[in-house]
Symmetry: D2
Subunit: 360 residues, 4 copies
């Protein structure tokens, strides 16, 4: 059992609560000899950190990672990489009024029932603060994947009803981080930002869809039955806070198509390699990568914490009224783009390592 771990060979085990002294983790299975670009790792964290723009939570947290082991003279040693990120801006008193409250659509009730005892400060372990550890591990995975030229790009495809209708091949995915909402189309991005700002003024929240594209993925990643590459990607994505849906390739639209319309014919591509004419499979067939781009959508619900009064119960079963306080995100997607990429990078790195032992 590995409930605080993700991955088989390339593996992150994480710990930490939102308002503890620090969060952190252990990254195992990263091969020895990988040069660590510390600036890159920190930049990845910066893309997720709170307080970075006007459309995310104004909580200020520097999210500086300290590596404690497993890296020597700038390179991985093949041994576990321990790291911590200190919680510098935890204002636990902001949460005293929530001690016994069950906030709607939060984990307060389920944690209380499961464990009989919980750290209620800032959501404790159920806070998305934990995802900072994923970003660290994802950054290391990305550095490893550079050796295989694998490219992973996530971006915001939809905020509420504002949708980027273009196919990813029509977009310049390198532009994603040029705006604060992380949508590679600047016109749509502007609309999304305006929407989020307007929702924020209402004290409300919105959700949306992040699309992730993995290019240059080697053929042969994924395991045939239970650990199909798509199944593990789904697992990875649904493990992110607020995610309610996942679809790969043609996804839910495949439902209304016929087999004759959806099948991906094999053809030679311009390099003479076996390729497919269309890519409704989303780069994965029989659970195994086929070398075509892998793309999938991840649906996020609106943030549960709203700046409006809500009715709910407390631990004693009494009806209470909840007044919103604190500093929260009106929309989680701008900060989640990096988390989606991080989880995807960990999955691909892990299966890439596994694929080294498939054949004699």
């Amino acid at each position: 059992m590995a409930f605080n771990s993700f991955g088989n060979i390339f593996k992150l085990t994480s710990f930490g609560e939102s308002h503890g002294t620090s969060i952190g983790g252990i990254i195992e299975g990263c091969p020895a000899g990988l040069e660590i670009d510390f600036i890159f790792v920190q930049e990845e964290l910066n893309k997720r950190k709170p307080g970075q723009s006007r459309i995310v939570t104004q909580r200020k947290e520097e999210d500086e990672v300290e590596f404690l082991s497993g890296i020597f003279e700038g390179k991985t040693t093949g041994l576990p990489i321990g790291f911590i990120i200190k919680n510098t801006n935890a204002k636990s008193k902001d949460y005293a009024h929530l001690k016994d409250a069950y906030r709607p659509s939060h984990a307060d009730f389920t944690y209380q029932e499961k464990y009989g005892h919980r750290d209620y400060r800032g959501g404790g372990r159920s806070s998305a603060r934990e995802t900072a550890c994923r970003v660290v591990a994802g950054a290391i995975a990305k550095l490893f994947l550079r050796h295989y030229k694998v490219k992973i790009n996530a971006f915001v495809k939809q905020i509420a009803t504002i949708k980027l209708e273009k196919n990813f091949s029509e977009l310049n995915l390198e532009d994603t981080f040029l705006n604060i909402v992380r949508c590679p189309d600047m016109v749509i991005a502007e609309q999304m930002i305006n929407l989020i700002e307007s929702i924020k003024k209402q004290g409300d929240t919105v959700g949306g869809i992040i699309q992730c594209v993995i290019q240059n993925c080697p053929v042969g990643l994924g395991e045939p039955v239970f650990d199909k590459l798509n199944a593990v990607l789904a697992h990875a994505m649904l493990s992110i806070n607020a995610v309610k849906g996942f679809e790969i390739g043609a996804g839910f639209e495949a439902v209304t198509k016929k087999g004759s319309e959806l099948n991906d014919e094999f053809i030679k591509n311009s390099n003479g390699n076996t390729s497919t004419k269309t890519n409704n499979s989303g780069g994965i067939q029989g659970g195994i990568s086929n070398g075509m781009p892998i793309y999938f959508n991840v649906a996020f619900k609106p943030v549960a914490t709203i700046m409006q009064t809500q009715n709910t119960l407390n631990k004693l079963g009494e009806e209470i009224t909840l007044e919103a306080k604190g500093r929260h995100d009106p929309c989680v997607l701008p900060r989640a783009v990096t988390i989606v990429e991080a989880m995807a990078a960990m999955v691909i790195a892990d299966f890439l390592l596994i694929s080294k032992v498939n054949k004699l």
Copy 2:
């Protein structure tokens, strides 16, 4: 690593190819003392078996399970339950023409590249025949879950564009297996059957959506971070052949709602228990079951094998024309309902066992 296994405590490890002598598996972690209703297990297999109706493949396979260990005097011993299902109707010569062909949207190419060597007969291990083993393990899981009164009901919600619009609470889920398409609304079912028959005549295939509802699930199942109950359900479902999407609770529709609309207020239910007014969370909050019904949708693409001529490549990279042969399903959903239930049952049984050690 456990690539042919699913589950942590309650675990299935499976083996077998479509045209080998038999498929089978080992079920571990089922507590000792569980009475096995062998007739029930076989009935579950019968719901999945080929040849059972005019809208599924006409291949005849009896799918009789033989238990080899772990059951003594009708009860589980707590030790591994080995079982096999013989392949009685494997007509491998039907597949000789596919030896080197890469069928569109099948796993031929990816298996060949991954392993350099493959059993091409009937799709080998990539065939959905392997899911019969899941049904056996799922049936044992269901027998275990009866002790906790957990009810798991899947049904066909959509075939191509024909959609059952009702909420599951308006349906009599016990009626699902009264018709051959496995839709609990008899009127919609009729339309679905007609559609499948018409598609079959075209030599084409269709997909659809299966919804699964889990009722009376105890509060507290699921692990907080990487093994959230929803994440493991997504993993389970995406590991089923032909699945392209998963959504839980409000799912993809949550994207266009505001937080204030979507949040599930806590209320006392008629039994005085903590409950929620709405259930957009789909019975899971913070990755942990909250006692409300768990419901999720699983999107299946149309079957890749069509009775039409297709262009593709062979192993040598040559362009070939594929003439369809053999006995195939025009639509996989009627047979997949039981598979979805089986996977859900395994997930819930596993987390139920895990929950025994959460508290001192």
Copy 3:
């Protein structure tokens, strides 16, 4: 959790009771493309099977393995290898008198208490019959290790007080299976055989020591902390029925030596490779193989089933007298040599695969 499994990548999961219809298992992680020498696998089983000589149990069991999957056209496919061995000579009525008895030094009491329900026939799952599955997996592991020229030789070093005092380097380990007791020194072997025959006449049993030597093991196998190569070998050996002790390299004798006497100085060997002058480390330093021969001793207690009357209790806590019946081994070591080799082969094969991903 993997309680019926052994290994990480190269992994055996086994099932089956002594008197069920068959025992069997699933071998995972064997790379695709390995040619299976079926005759070799069966010969390995023959070395373990009962009834093969006058100093082992006279129970006749052919122990024929049937492979059900994972091998196609004589080669592994990289997919799980399912197999069964039928129980052809189970005479369960021999055990009816043991239904409620707790045989001294057997697992009857502990199984009953742990599970509340047990298959008492022939010891059920606690019977060493289960080790036949290990021999199958070990044989596949040995075939894999041939590609790396790794040689694994176990032999009987001691039976009761009769001890082969020579160092393994003075022995011709290929001669081990020339006699029925499996000791490569023919003079000592004769003494051992005589002793076992004499003990058998007394209706008693004896134990002994098996030494195992692994030559040509690549440098770098084993993991630094918890899964040191020596730790996993110890785990493997202590998992064999009747084993009470394990020592590696200088072993228990290291206790009375000084550091200055025991340290293994590094030197160049005749091939110019880094080697050690002595090998008190037993081929493993810091948990990782150093290229020198790995050697270890495994202590087996005498078989618990004796042909003498014994006092004990039954399930109801009543004092009873146990009359011995059935066909049992006076000494388990001759048949255990192959089991020790099989477990060692699985460990080395597993770590060899793991070592493929240590470095960038």
Copy 4:
């Protein structure tokens, strides 16, 4: 794969090198609601720490543990317990001369070959410093086991040829920590201390045997086949630095006994419980605890670092002479007693949790 982890449910994952900024770990699976006695945890660490007496290394390291998560208001929350121990006295320049040297019987060569790159300072990850993390996890396990009244006592039974011949039942195991060598017989302890001091003056080192006794262990712990309780204890012990042997119950002496002498007859004990007359099995039958005391011996070789000049090779394959420097233990056993107990406690805690799901 879990190479830096130990345990299934109750699990430690550790990280850190001897001369990094800190070592640490994550403890998972400890049930929620356990009160943490922080003073007890620190006392356990103090029993292992360097510099505590004249017969251990004079290196001063305070070994203060800082818990970072998983404990709230003094009790475990059921969530991962992250912790670090800072390295306050790392004098890395002491090791500069060892940068390229392969110290005899150390892990320098094997790490270099396995990873191609290593942190040579103070042995890096191969240093026994890592065992401090095990002591932290073991202390938490002991606190958990108090609820089941399980008692775990290890003690030094032998140093070189000085041996405590008494059976553990004749000793007062609570006296073990009254002397600096950790032998519960004060006369033998004095002899051991004198021997160690004399060896230290010679610049040499000695080994010995630690015995560990587990009392009040519930019946039914351990898994039948591969994860027998004795097998996992062997794994645990052989994973400790410098351990070369393990024996349980009658151990290697069982080899020279007959079955009729060694079998443990079942009898009623004074409480009317099923018990055994003798305990050659060492409290475990068929891999499962039977309620009798579990006892086993662990053989430690002398410390490899000696204060004498040694010949060896360096990374370039050149012959070099090694002058000893630094502060080292002449004998590791006094500090290892707590480590043996910690590993035993983790094993028992883990199997105790697992046993909660054995029966319906």
